[in-house]
Amino acid sequence: MAAKGIDHVVGAACSEPELTTNGYIQHHLTNLTYGKLPYESEVWHCNKESQVWDMPTIIPADTWTFAHGATEAADMGFWAFNVDSIGWSIFLGALFLGLFKWAIPTNSDTPSGLQNFVEMCIEFVDDNVQSLFGATNNKLIAPLALTVFVWILFMNLMDLIPVDFIPELAKYLGIEYFKVVPTTDPNVTLGMALAIFVLTIYYSIKIKGLKAFVAELTLHPFGKWLMPVNFVLEMVNFIAKPISLGLRLFGNLYAGEMIFILIALMLFFNSVLIGMLGIGLHLVWALFHILIVALQAFIFMALTIAYLAMAHETEEH
């Protein structure tokens, strides 16, 4: 995201950005970024005493560092890693694997709450795979669908933790920016969608053969004499799938997070009444958001299965 909120002018006032509404929102939407600051980029410092911008320091050589703010993160260009998204998604993935591995061997007749939850998830995913994927035999689909579902569910559930809780804790550890919900980072959702897309192409070529796959893309609506037209039409269709898959998840969670941030802003008003209303709204939106959280995880899983099922269809139509 480009930082448009801050104007860098030497000598201009630079108040603490978190104290303004825009600064607060910007702060919550900025990732903890580690990357390569290129040669000759400018680093701006806010003078703590006089509250104005000092002269920027010019980076003498390429440096790997943490970005202080969105402008520096944008300067990093391609070589920027959103450490918080990567860290949380890996942590939640490990949590999913550990939880499921730990819960399953305790195969008792009176299952505990956790085992019930795990079995419920597995049965739910299995039902969906049976109904959406059909009879085709592929042992990868069900575990893939389970991973996609539970992992995304866990990542989305991070949205229900109060917006300031973990970032404020991180501030005590000296971490300036900290975004907690990995799925509000388009890099994460589009990355997952891309992985599904690559799997779709792999299975299309493996099951149907390269020739049938190309034929599907070029011969479909109008027959072989209008091949370029067919190709353009089918390609739009083909590319739109992963993009809409990733953007749908990102957009929903981003909008949800944004609304949580806006409700949190209500507590900054100098009024007890608005603050109380904010707490009530938090509860209402969190309850409604549980639906979106689970639904988006389910939709991502269902579409994953459906796209892979399409890649396995061999008969002509």
Binding site: N22, L29, G251, N252, A255, M258, L262, F298
Partner: protein
């Protein structure tokens, strides 16, 4: 800045209209389906939520973008 407020309002309003019509049609058909064949209710419910999520997603993205235009730009 004033125009971005207008743009955000139009974005959110139009997407709300679209989602309202879409989910309305979907819900009416869902209830119609259950009334015709009550034994299919659980099957239809799963499909209903899937479709509602798909219909709901685009306006939600619109709301997110609108909020972004309003407050973060």
């Amino acid at each position: 800045m004033e125009y971005s407020i207008l743009a955000a309002g139009i974005t959110m309003g139009l997407s709300a209209i679209g989602a309202g019509i879409g989910v309305g049609i979907l819900g009416s058909k869902f209830i119609e389906g259950i009334a015709r064949q009550p034994e299919l209710a659980p099957f239809l419910q799963g499909r209903f939520f899937l479709m509602m999520g798909l219909t709901d997603a685009v306006p939600m993205i619109g709301v997110g973008l609108g909020m972004y235009m309003l407050f973060a730009l």
